[in-house]
C-alpha cells in the first residue's frame, strides 16, 4: 500500500510544496498508522465501556437501595460537571500516582498504563451521559407493559432484560447514537496523558517536519472519515432494529 502511494506524494511535494510526509517517508508512515490504530482501539473500548456503564447505571437508578441510587447520582453529576480533559489528567496523575506499580529497573511500570486510564476516564465520561439517555428511554416504556410482564410471572431481571431494555434501547437510540459519536471524537483528548493516538502522533510529526497545515488537514480527514463511517453504521443499525410502533 505504502509503496504504491509513496511516489505519488513525493511528486506532489516536489511540484506543489504540499508536504504529506506521512505518505512518502516510511518512518512517518509507520507513526501515522500506529497512531490511527491506537485511536480506533481507544474509540472501540471507550464506546463499549460507556454502553455497559450506561445500561448498569440506568438499572441501578431504578433499584430500591437508596445508597445505590445516590451513588449513581453522584457519579453522573461528577462526570457531567467536569471537563473530560481534566478527568484524564486527574486519573493519570492523581489516581495513577497512587496505584500499584511494578519495578521495571530504574522506573516503575504502572499496572494501568496511560491507554488504560484513557479508556477508563473517557468511558466513565461517556457512561454518565449514557445513564441519563437510557433512563429517559426506560421511563418511556409504558408502565402497563412492565406490569403486564410482571403479572405473567417474570422476575425483575427478566422484565428488565427482555421487555424494558429492548424497548428503551430503541426509543433512546437517536440520543445514544449522538452521544457515541461525540464520545468517539472526545478520544482525541487522550494526547494530554501521552497516549500515542493519532492526534499525539501527528503533533510530533508536524513538529519534526514543520508541515502543520497538511498534517492538521490529515487529522481532520481521519476523524471525519471514521466518524462518518460510525454514523453510517449507527443509521444502518437503527433501520435494522426498528419495531413497528416503537419510537415513531
Amino acid at each position: 500500500m505504502f509503496d504504491i502511494i509513496a511516489p505519488l506524494f513525493l511528486e506532489i511535494h516536489k511540484t506543489t510544496g504540499l508536504n504529506f510526509v506521512t505518505f512518502y517517508d516510511p518512518y512517518e508512515y509507520g507513526r501515522f498508522i500506529s497512531g490511527a490504530g491506537k485511536s480506533l482501539q481507544l474509540m472501540l473500548y471507550t464506546l463499549c465501556l460507556s454502553l455497559i456503564i450506561g445500561v448498569l447505571g440506568a438499572q441501578a437508578q431504578t433499584s430500591k437501595s437508596k445508597m445505590l441510587r445516590g451513588g449513581v447520582e453522584i457519579y453522573v453529576q461528577a462526570f457531567r460537571n467536569t471537563p473530560v480533559m481534566i478527568q484524564l489528567l486527574f486519573f493519570y496523575f492523581a489516581i495513577g500516582g497512587i496505584g500499584p506499580v511494578i519495578d521495571a529497573g530504574g522506573y516503575y511500570e504502572p499496572l494501568i498504563p496511560a491507554f488504560g486510564w484513557a479508556v477508563i476516564a473517557i468511558g466513565l465520561f461517556g457512561g454518565a451521559y449514557n445513564v441519563e439517555i437510557f433512563r429517559s428511554g426506560i421511563e418511556a416504556v409504558p408502565a402497563s407493559t412492565t406490569q403486564a410482564a410482571k403479572s405473567l410471572g417474570m422476575n425483575k431481571w427478566q422484565v428488565f432484560s427482555r421487555i424494558t431494555l429492548p424497548l428503551a434501547f430503541r426509543v433512546s437510540f437517536p440520543s445514544l447514537g449522538t452521544n457515541l459519536i461525540s464520545l468517539a471524537k472526545t478520544t482525541s483528548f487522550a494526547y494530554v496523558i501521552a497516549v500515542p493516538e493519532v492526534t499525539y502522533m501527528l503533533n510530533q510529526i508536524w513538529a519534526d517536519n514543520v508541515n502543520v497545515p497538511e498534517m492538521i488537514f490529515l487529522l481532520f480527514l481521519f476523524y471525519f472519515t471514521v466518524i462518518t463511517a460510525l454514523s453510517i453504521f449507527l443509521n444502518w443499525l437503527e433501520s435494522r432494529i426498528t419495531i413497528p410502533g416503537v419510537g415513531k
Partner: protein, 286 residues
C-alpha cells in the same frame, strides 16, 4: 431614449467607476507599502514572541510581568527602534505560525536553529543561545545514554530531538504537553528519565524539590537557538538591524553579563561566541 443606449450608458458608467476604484487601490497600495521597520515605528510597538515558564530566559515575576535574559534582549531591540516592547507568550508549537500571521514581529523563544525551520522563517545569525537535549534521572539510575534503550523517557511534545533520540537509542519518548506534566510523570516513576534541554534541566536541579536527581550524561546535538523574523524580512532593513544587534550582544559581552545577572549555569557556548565575535583590537596599540 431606447433600451440600448440606456444599457450602454449604464455600462460606461460602471466601467468608469471600476477603473477609478482600481486606480485608487493601486495608488493606495503604493502609498501604504512601507518597510517593516517603518511599520513597527509607526505603530510604536514591537511584539516579540517569548516562551512562558522558561527560566532564566523568559518567565514571570510575582506581578505577572515577563522577565529574563530573552526579555532583556527583546527590550534592547525595542529601545534601539525607539518603540514599546510587548511580550507575546508563544509555545514551540505555534511560534512560527504566530510570526506568519503577523501576531508577532520577532521570535526570541528558545527556538533551535534547524533546516526545516530555515525553510519557513528567516533565522537570524548569529544565534543568541544554545543547548542540547540531555537526561535528568534519579541518582545512580543512568550512567550512559545507552541505559535508556528499550525504556520509556518522559519528554515534551513537539521537541525536535524526540524522534532523533528515539531512533538513535531505541527508546520511547512519552511526550506530554508541558514540562510540569513530564516531570510529574518522572517523579511517579512512569519513565526512567526526563529528556529536555540542558538549560532547563540545570534550572530544575537547582530547586530543593529535585534533590536526589542528577544530570548524568552530556548533551547530545548541541544546537544553537536563533531569533527569527519573516523570511522576506531577513535581508530588509529590519532583519539587518536585528542581525546587527545579535552580533553586538556577543561582541560587547552583553549576553555574558545577562547570563551572570540571571544566574545562567551553562555558559561555555556563550563564552565561546564572545571570544569569536569580539574583534581583536590589539592593533590599536601600535
Amino acid at each position: 431614449m431606447n433600451i440600448r443606449s440606456l444599457e450602454n450608458k449604464r455600462f460606461v458608467n460602471l466601467a468608469c467607476k471600476l477603473s477609478i476604484f482600481t486606480a485608487a487601490i493601486a495608488v493606495g497600495h503604493e502609498a501604504v507599502a512601507s518597510s517593516k521597520l517603518d511599520q513597527i515605528q509607526e505603530e510604536g510597538v514591537i511584539r516579540v514572541g517569548v516562551l512562558d515558564d522558561f527560566k532564566p530566559f523568559s518567565f514571570r515575576d510575582t506581578s505577572g510581568n515577563m522577565q529574563g535574559i530573552s526579555v532583556e534582549l527583546a527590550k534592547d531591540v525595542a529601545n534601539t527602534l525607539g518603540v514599546e516592547f510587548e511580550p507575546v507568550v508563544v509555545t514551540s508549537a505555534n511560534r512560527m505560525q504566530f510570526l506568519d500571521q503577523g501576531r508577532i514581529d520577532l521570535i526570541i523563544a528558545g527556538m533551535s536553529d534547524r533546516p526545516e525551520r530555515r525553510e519557513k522563517v528567516g533565522i537570524i545569525e548569529p544565534s543568541y543561545g544554545a543547548s542540547g537535549p540531555t537526561l535528568m534521572a534519579k541518582e545512580g539510575v543512568i550512567e550512559t545514554w545507552e541505559d535508556i534503550s528499550g525504556k520509556p523517557v518522559c519528554g515534551k511534545q513537539g521537541a525536535f530531538y524526540n524522534s532523533l533520540i528515539e531512533r538513535e537509542f531505541g527508546t520511547t519518548v512519552v511526550a506530554f504537553t508541558g514540562n510540569a506534566e513530564a516531570k510529574a510523570a518522572l517523579r511517579a516513576g512512569r519513565c526512567i528519565a526526563w529528556l529536555y534541554d540542558d538549560a532547563g534541566i540545570i534550572n530544575t536541579l537547582v530547586s530543593e524539590d529535585w534533590q536526589g536527581y542528577e544530570m548524568p550524561v552530556d548533551p547530545k546535538y548541541v544546537n544553537p537557538w536563533a531569533m527569527a523574523v519573516l523570511k522576506d524580512e531577513l535581508e530588509s532593513s529590519y532583519g539587518t538591524l536585528v542581525t546587527g544587534l545579535a552580533y553586538r550582544w556577543h561582541a560587547s559581552g552583553k549576553i555574558q553579563e545577562l547570563a551572570k545577572e540571571w544566574d545562567l549555569q551553562a555558559t561555555s557556548w556563550i563564552d565561546q561566541m564572545h571570544d569569536k565575535m569580539k574583534q581583536d583590537t590589539s592593533y590599536l596599540e601600535y
